[in-house]
């Protein structure tokens, strides 16, 4: 199989039971499998790192029930791993809530909102995707009913209107006891119309059952999120940061550099080929070309491993080194967007205190004083 085919096969959605089985395998078992499956296993691999831990702690605090936070935005650079984070969030929240949830309840609903190729937002399409994610059946045949003068009436004919679809969603959120509604790639919803109208609609939808909204997107939505009043009042932004490469001094690494280096070591330890390249020798280059993003690092390593798998004897060659990193112009574009996004989000995120460190210490002392 060619490297491109391997990568496509590895990253395409697979049946959940297959992925679940793969995740449970050790590296020794995986090395006995075919190349496509090994690459898929490497793709599914998730490792903990400090930034991920920080984001998850923040999410845990914000998603606790009965606090005032209604909207949580997770913003990060392209390819840092936001969608992967969203899927993991769904699994973890399901595991957390399932202990108390009935089998018919759905604590977390994940809704992807891909670009629809149209010039305006399709509310019908979005509402339908939300209903599908909520495991609603025969959506195109649903029609709402009303009680008029003590008599039950149903609206017949044609397709359900937007109002009806909205009613279906509110009912689904309530009856499935949805705690968290995750909408991924939310930029595709906000770039057409007045974003505040879109946000108001989404928020009121979630308010129907006190469901918390988690919106995931890249820096493109940062400005909208900062300016949207409801986020300011009832929401928080979580910045999924990259590790800053900086200047590498081998004698004394920064915290970010050390964290990134450890990630490289983890990926090396789980390399999907028998012949393991010494990634630690080039961790600095990897950090520089990945812009400090663990997601981009993994993308590069996936490509490298797929190239290695297609070579004779699975040995790395010079051609592989030429091809596994992102082209410089693409990387430069990503860096430019990242820098402007980081600047925009400075002082706007959860954990960005208006107090200096000294003021925080002083306040804590005052609070703890008798």
């Amino acid at each position: 199989m060619e490297s491109k085919e391997l990568l496509t096969h590895a990253t395409d959605p697979m049946p959940q039971c297959v992925d679940t089985h793969l995740r449970g395998l050790s590296r020794e078992k995986v090395l006995e499998l075919d190349s496509a499956t090994r690459l898929r296993w490497f793709f599914l691999l998730q490792t903990a790192h400090p930034e991920l831990g920080r984001v998850t702690s923040a999410l845990e605090e914000l998603l606790m029930p009965d606090n005032e936070t209604k909207i949580v935005s997770i913003i990060g650079m392209t390819g840092i791993g936001k969608t992967t984070l969203a899927h993991s969030l769904q699994r973890v929240l399901n595991a957390k809530f399932s202990a108390q949830a009935h089998a018919s309840e759905m604590p977390v609903v994940y809704v992807p909102s891909p670009a629809n190729g149209e010039k305006s937002l399709s509310w019908t399409g979005l509402y339908t995707r939300i209903l599908e994610a909520g495991r609603e059946t025969l959506i195109d045949k649903k029609r709402a009913q009303t009680v008029t003068g003590g008599a039950l009436q149903v609206i017949r004919g044609g397709r359900a209107t937007l109002t009806e679809l909205r009613n279906f969603i509110e009912h689904m959120l309530k009856i499935r006891n949805v705690q968290v509604l995750i909408i991924d790639e939310v930029l595709h919803l906000l770039r057409f119309e007045s974003y505040s109208a879109v946000m108001d609609t989404l928020k009121s939808l979630a308010d129907a059952h006190s469901t918390k909204l988690v919106l995931i997107g890249s820096y493109d939505i940062a400005e909208r999120m900062i300016e949207y009043g409801q986020v300011a009042r009832r929401g928080e932004i979580i910045h999924y940061r990259r590790y800053l490469p900086g200047v590498i001094n081998a004698a004394k690494l920064t915290d970010d550099q050390e964290a990134f280096r450890q990630q490289v070591a983890k990926f090396q330890a789980e390399w999907p080929c028998a012949s393991v390249p010494n990634l630690l020798n080039i961790w600095g280059d990897l950090m520089k070309h990945s812009l400090g993003s663990i997601g981009m690092l993994k993308t590069h390593l996936l490509r490298l491993s797929s190239l290695q798998m297609t070579s004779r004897g699975e040995q790395l060659t010079l051609r592989h080194i030429h091809h596994f990193l992102k082209p410089p112009k693409a990387a430069a574009k990503i860096l430019q967007e990242t820098l402007s996004g980081e600047a925009l989000l400075r002082g706007a995120c959860y954990g960005d205190s208006p107090l200096s460190d000294e003021e925080c210490v002083k306040m804590l002392d005052l609070l703890q004083a008798a």
Binding site: A95, L138, Q145, L152
Partner: protein
Amino acid sequence: MDFAAAPTKASHRTTAFHGLVPQGAGTWQVESLHSYILALAHSHFLSANVFVREGLALASAADGLDALPTWGWDKGAGSTLMGVSDLAGSLSRRFAALTGREEVLLTTLAGLNGHTCGQELIHPRERVCTKCLQEDLDRGQLPYSRLLWRVSAVTACPLHRVRLKEAACGNQAGHSRASLFGRRRLSGSCGYCGSLGFRCICAPELPATENEVWVAQQVGTVIQALPKLQQTNPLVMKDAVRAYCGRTNGSVKLSERIGVPKSQVSRWLRRPEHRFSLPCLLDMCASEGFELARLLMGDLARTAWPSEVRPERQRRQFKYHDHRVIEEALQHAIDTGESISSVADQLGIDVSTLARHEELYARLRDRNQALNQQQHADSQRAAVAEAEQVVLALSRQGQTPTLRNASDTTGSRWYPSQLRAIALHALRMRMGATNLRPLTKMFNVGPDFLRLVDDAAARLLDLVDRKQLALFA
């Protein structure tokens, strides 16, 4: 939260359908499976038919379950869904799996499969207590149909002590075509005008008798005890009744008291698979002072029911006959020519009782047979004679002897099924009519009749001339 240690297994698989809890679950007011399905369809904003036929199939396939037969699920207001049938059990188990609610298993009487049969069990139409429905509305919930109301033996509401009403729409305006487009079926609401709580029913409220209230209460306790009854071996009940018969005056007397033939009681006690209907079990409880739910569990503790509580079945009447009177009646019938059945009617006894007097019975029977044969022969002779006369008269008038001409001549209608019409038709054939086919009934009249027709034809041939004979051709 540790995302890196995110569970590798899918820890929570949501059910296909909303997890509605059946209303009144755990009480005698539990809703029926039919009502639950309508409520579930309502929750999914789908029509009941689409929900059952398509939604159930899709959900079953998605969960890797076999498809269930759903054709005719709504027949008799879903009466097949609530009894002791296999379909009721299968559907309740399927919906319990697809909603995650075990309480759905108690919305049918399938748990009584070994205790009672499906005969006279479920009423084929919806009956409601409008007061109960109004109370549902007052509590802020949608009205629903109770499983209790669908049991045929139950004709009253035990709570309000009024008779149940047939769910018939009393709103004439609701039957117009325009309003039909706005209908959606929901249990506890009129399927024609959509009135919640069947407020459109015009029938007056009638008070229930004590007996009716007692029956409803008994069935209500059974419904409430369904979880326990499902675990009970039905043979325990039979063993207890058998022992009870042994302590009292036997199964024959029991059968007399409850109005069931003694052979049926005997079969029920002897054969494990034989089941009494619910009304029959209720009669047993009314007669013997049992509580139905306890009886089904084999507990025959007796209770003194009010005097108004009585079995529905008529007690069998055992008559003692005076056979001297029967003999005299038979002799009289032989003399006067009465039939056996009229003698039995007059005496109010069965023909088999008359037959016990073999000699007289045989003489009466033979005599009546001879009389019948004589009458039959006479009627055949009269029919042929009449036909002969009509044929002669018509031929002398120059008319073809058809049934129409015969009707005109005699002033009475001649129908092809009449003997005289058959005789006329046969005469025409014997006298040369080649364009006629035999009537079907001609094959049943017998050789004597045809001999009479031949003789008549021979006489007519002597009487008519050639010109008249041409009329028969």
